[in-house]
């Protein structure tokens, strides 16, 4: 079989077209240089099938673009998602715990420690002047302030917890962010499967889906399963059933035994057995022990309790029988200050109420510092993984400009090859066989 005279034209044309596609892919990259979640694409070129040119051998026939590859490292994606979950958990936990910490107002002159100190001082002042109406009035005022600041702190903790519950419901309720992401994800699953079915590779849809997966991973722990036909099913927080199964969304979301991420942190903050709840119960135990210890000394002397603590509503209040007129410093004569003295000594009791409050503050401080550290570490790690991911998938304008030049020159060279073939054909067609004309 002889080879067509016009083959050179075809070969050049293939070259022109291929370089043009490569230029198109490059300009797509440049256009998306700042698109979040975009992965760099590359036109994959392959030499077309050769022609048999006996006896010389195989003659190349040019080039074809066989696909547009999406440059992405899925291993880095996995690493990124693990850190993203840690980061989501750490920052959300830090946010709510920092609010708890701010409400403590320690160390300072406005916290409960200061109120407690002035409460003990008031007993001591009363011991110095057991008959004095002013000292009684001051004691009652200090006791009320102490009780109300303990109650206010508990209310503050409750508010932080309630805010977390509200955020959680905004996130996970029907119509919330999670359902929105899941729906879009399922839609993309369907579109990608359909496109792959007809042999196309929907790179930009896959980028969008990966970005949603990144978002999901900051919300909760994500487990993915690729069905090989273009769909990815997603299970959140170690649930028994997947949230997104192909192009369907299981809603309401299956229960997450081990959520992690932002949802995990919010669930912990909102839960009646979570971190903030343990702070509340520790504060309650502190108020209870304050009540018990004060009453144990005050009641025998005065015949009534001093404090009343209602564990159900977590409210500390003064016994109704305690008023500036009735409060007593001791059981005996007007000058007896034995009870007031013993009460003021409670401030020095080792392992007493002051210590248990200081322990609560230290514990909260330690846990906030821990949460901050976790968030900072996860941030640093996810940044460095994101850097590595970007170095693969990200668009480098320098590289794209170089490619632009490369493909432009390739196009020019292919055009020149075509011109050369053309002038060769011109010689053959228009100037050959004209001898003697």
């Amino acid at each position: 079989m002889s080879i067509s005279t016009f083959m050179g034209l075809q070969t050049s044309l293939r070259g022109l077209v291929a370089q043009q596609r490569a230029l198109d892919a490059t300009s797509h990259n440049i256009s998306n240089a700042s698109t979040t979640g975009y992965s760099r694409q590359e036109a994959q070129m392959q030499a077309t099938d050769a022609l048999l040119d006996r006896p010389a051998g195989m003659l190349g026939t040019g080039v074809d673009v066989v696909g547009y590859a999406r440059i992405r490292d899925s291993f880095l994606d996995l690493q990124y998602r693990a850190q993203s979950m840690q980061l989501g958990y750490g920052t959300t936990r830090t946010d709510s715990l920092e609010q708890v910490e701010l409400r403590l107002a320690e160390p300072g002159d406005n916290g409960i420690a200061a109120r407690l100190n002035s409460f003990w001082s008031s007993w001591s002042d009363l011991a110095n002047a057991p008959e004095s109406g002013a000292a009684r009035g001051a004691l009652i005022a200090d006791a009320r302030t102490l009780a109300s600041s303990i109650n206010a702190l508990d209310d503050g903790f409750e508010t932080v917890s309630a805010q977390a519950a509200q955020q959680l419901s905004l996130l996970t309720a029907t119509g919330g962010e999670l359902q929105g992401i899941a729906r879009e994800f399922a839609g993309l699953n369907g579109a990608i499967r359909d496109a792959q079915h007809v042999g196309a590779q929907p790179n930009d849809l896959m980028d969008r889906r990966d970005m949603l997966l990144d978002k999901l991973s900051s919300l909760a722990q994500v487990t993915v399963a690729d069905d090989g036909a273009g769909s990815i099913s997603v299970t959140l927080g170690g649930a028994a059933a997947p949230l997104i199964d192909g192009s369907t969304v299981n809603w309401p979301a299956p229960a997450m035994p081990n959520p992690g991420g932002k949802i995990g942190a919010l669930m912990d903050a909102a839960s009646p057995t979570g971190t903030i709840a343990t702070y509340r119960s520790e504060l309650g135990a502190f108020a209870q022990s304050l009540t018990t210890k004060v009453n144990a000394i005050y009641n025998p002397a005065a015949g009534t309790n001093f404090f009343a603590y209602d564990a159900a509503t977590a409210t500390l209040s003064l016994d109704p029988g305690v008023t500036p007129a009735t409060v007593r410093a001791g059981a005996g004569a007007p000058g007896d200050n034995s009870a007031a003295l013993a009460l003021s000594e409670l401030s020095n009791e080792p392992g007493g109420v002051n210590d248990s409050y200081a322990q609560l503050v230290t514990r909260i401080g330690t846990e906030v510092a821990d949460a901050k550290r976790t968030a900072t570490n996860a941030n640093a790690l996810s940044n460095s993984i994101e850097d590595r991911r970007q170095s693969t998938a990200g668009v480098s304008l320098d590289e794209e400009m170089t490619n632009l030049i490369r493909f432009q020159r390739g196009y020019q060279a292919a055009a020149r090859a075509m011109t050369t073939t053309d002038s060769m054909l011109d010689t053959l067609i228009n100037r050959t066989g004209r001898v003697g004309l």
């Binding site: 910490e101 407690l116 004569a333 007007p334 000058g335 994101e386």
Partner: protein, 292 residues
Amino acid sequence: MITRGIVTDLNDIATRVSHTQQKLASGKELTRPSDDPFATGRAIGLRTELAGLEQYQRNVDDAEAWTSVTENKLSTMTDIVHSARELLVRGSTGTTSVGDRKIIADEIDGLIAAAKDTANATYAGRSLFAGTATATKPYGAASDAYLGDAGDVVRSIGPGVSVIVNARGSDMLGNGADGKLLNTLRDISAHLRGGSAADIAALGGSDLVGMDRSLDNVLNVRAQVGSTASRLEAANNRLAEIEEGVRGLLSKVEDADMAATMIEYSMQQSVYQSALRAGAGIVQASLLDFLR
């Protein structure tokens, strides 16, 4: 990628600068418990200790006021006892006439009233010598019975340390017929008025002994109150010293080291500025600048 890195680093430095600025503005190393949980726990403990020390100093001040008024009254009481003893000595000599003895007896009666008045002294509306029955005057005009109680007026002057600041009237003036001052003076007055040989003998004998015993009682009480006063003074000095120490510790735990923080601040600022400059330089350079 470079741009993201620069932004992250700049944010990082800005956060640190703002934290240092917070320290400078508040003058505190600890602005919240998570800055240093252990130090926060310690600061709370030290603040409690400090509040306690301030309270103990107030207690000591109150106790000192109480003892100084008591000492003052006791000195008056000593004068009364001395006068009574002089009168007794004058009345017990055989040369004193019956009329003179009667005059002396009247004077002794006056001293009894004065002793009771002194024992009924109050400080800030509280009876000094009535034990804890501070609302009651220890001696009434009609009888010599002690109307106060045996309670101690106690002031707390340190953790677990308390002192008794009061002196009871019953220890000096007595309670009815118990051989103490009032009883002795009443006897003397009766003997002076009686004028029999036995009475005169008693004046120079048992009455003088009783008088000396009463003087001893008053002086003993004075000595006790005096030693309490010096104990209080020592406590005051000690508390002030400890307070100074605890304040120093608290400041070490809580307060920022201004010089070091200032240096840290200016260092961070210059780092921030050079990071900004470097960032601006890197972001501008691109292959695009060099292509036609």
